[in-house]
């Protein structure tokens, strides 16, 4: 179980604080797959970073009663000057795992060949995405935070991500964020809408979509 209560988060800008989250309540049960739909700048990534524990809310609380992954994003939580293999070693050390037990899996999934032993900053964006995904699958979490990663890469990569995440790990909870309702409709059992710094729940996905599409007609309001 993950429970967020009354979470507010603002960032300092040169023109004063920018309020991203204004009192968000959110609960995820074990095994549940929740999609968070939001336009660009709605605060999806902030929400994911707070859920992961990489950032703290200004006010409000968050409880985690299951292990939660770092945000699975295309950029990846790794260091560019290190090689792919050294990043695997780093992550395994941090999470207390013997990297040798995961090396074969990462080599196999990331399909980097000899580049696994080259610095990450020499990778193409597709290679980075494959490494990022393979590394996060190497650690066993109860809940995965997925920040649009599955939307990048070629169709083969997307296909393999789907298998790993939604077939092999179908018993795990997942929180998916996207601005693409189709991706969320396909995978999540429940969809919520992040707008104006608040999380809106709807009786069914059709209502959420209607609201979202109506909102799409308005210009983006990134700053208020």
């Amino acid at each position: 179980m993950i429970r967020m209560k009354g979470v507010c988060k603002a960032y300092a800008t040169s023109q004063g604080p920018h309020h991203v989250l204004r009192g968000v309540d959110f609960t995820v049960a074990p095994g549940e797959v929740v999609g968070i739909l939001g336009r660009n700048g709605a605060g999806k990534s902030t929400m994911i970073r707070i859920l992961s524990g990489a950032e703290f809310p200004d006010t409000g609380t968050i409880e985690r009663h299951m292990s939660v992954s770092w945000p699975l994003a295309f950029a990846g939580a790794f260091q560019g000057a290190l090689t792919g293999l050294d990043n695997l070693r780093f992550i395994c050390r941090v999470y207390g795992i013997d990297y040798r037990t995961r090396l074969h899996y990462v080599e196999d999934f990331a399909e980097l060949g000899k580049f696994l032993r080259e610095p990450v900053h020499t990778y193409s964006s597709g290679m980075r995405a494959r490494l990022a995904f393979a590394l996060s699958m190497a650690v066993d979490f109860d809940c995965f935070l997925v920040d649009e990663v599955v939307a990048v890469g070629d169709s083969r990569f997307r296909q393999r991500c789907q298998v790993e995440l939604f077939e092999k790990r179908r018993d795990r909870a997942k929180i998916l964020v996207s601005h693409d309702p189709n991706f969320l409709l396909q995978h999540s059992s429940r969809m919520v809408l992040l707008t104006g710094g608040q999380l809106l729940s709807f009786g069914n996905n059709a209502d959420a979509l209607d609201y979202y599409h109506a909102q799409q007609q308005e210009p983006a309001a990134a700053f208020d």
Binding site: A12, E55, A75, A81, D86
Partner: protein, 261 residues
């Protein structure tokens, strides 16, 4: 509660271990002698300065053997000066690692401080053994006092590192000021003189610099009664504690603003 504390400790150890390896790899890589650079680099610095001071006969101002004088002095400078230097850019290159919940901003600083402490300490020990072995200098008279002085200097470096590093996060002036400041501080740090050798009027001013106390104590431990040392452990400890406290408070203030990327 005890379980909690034990598991937190285990996590902390794992995170620091991982960060230490990460720092060593990007700084020294796996080429040629790899991580040995950790202490070979400060050794080369110290050897160079020792050679230079021997050539210019810096010891004509004192009766002390120049090799031991240079080794104790320059090693001390490296110890307290290298930590702030490395802490200046501790956060930037590691921003992406902060996505891992257990990796916190303070860990980035601790890892860099530990690495500098280890490198400069190994360099001092290796060079001491080398010089003593070749009879270029005598062994320290009071090893315990040398260790205490070294710890005080390391504490000063760690406190200064945290303070400078956390200030530099949102103020780029600090980076520009630190480099000239560290050069100006070098001749004032007690590395190249004994306080007893300077005029009495200047002593009071020089003793305002906390690292002077550490170097004096270190040399008293090394040369014993051959020199008259001027130092006040209480003064240096107070300055160190103040710097450390300031650094930690400042770090807590910025930790919330640092966003992983």
């Amino acid at each position: 509660m005890a379980d909690n504390l034990a598991s937190s400790f285990a996590i902390q150890r794992r995170v620091l271990g991982a960060l230490l390896m990460r720092e060593i790899l990007t700084r020294y890589g796996r080429h040629n002698i790899g991580f040995l650079w950790l202490f070979v680099e400060p050794m080369l610095f110290t050897l160079g300065v020792t050679a230079l001071w021997s050539l210019v006969q810096a010891d004509k101002f004192s009766s002390l053997p120049i090799v031991a004088f240079a080794l104790t002095g320059y090693s001390s400078v490296l110890l307290w000066r290298s930590m702030p230097g490395r802490c200046l850019s501790a956060i930037g290159p590691n921003l992406s690692l902060l996505y891992h919940r257990n990796v916190r901003v303070i860990d980035l600083f601790i890892a860099r401080i530990l690495l500098e402490a280890a490198g400069t300490t190994m360099s001092l020990v290796a060079l001491s053994l080398l010089f003593i072995g070749f009879e270029a200098m005598g062994p320290p008279e009071d090893v315990l006092k040398v260790v205490e002085a070294w710890l005080l200097l390391g504490w000063f470096g760690a406190g200064l590192g945290l303070a400078i590093g956390s200030l530099a996060y949102d103020n780029e002036l600090i980076d520009k000021i630190w480099h000239p400041m560290s050069y100006i501080l070098f001749p004032l740090s007690g590395a190249a003189f004994l306080v007893s050798a300077v005029p009495a009027e200047a002593r009071e001013i020089l003793l305002l610099f906390p690292m002077v106390h550490g170097v004096e104590m270190l040399r008293e431990g090394w040369f014993g009664s051959a020199i008259t040392a001027y130092y006040d452990v209480g003064y240096m400890a107070a300055v160190n504690a103040g710097l450390l406290l300031f650094g930690l408070l400042r770090l807590r203030a910025i930790a919330d603003k640092v966003r992983p990327q």
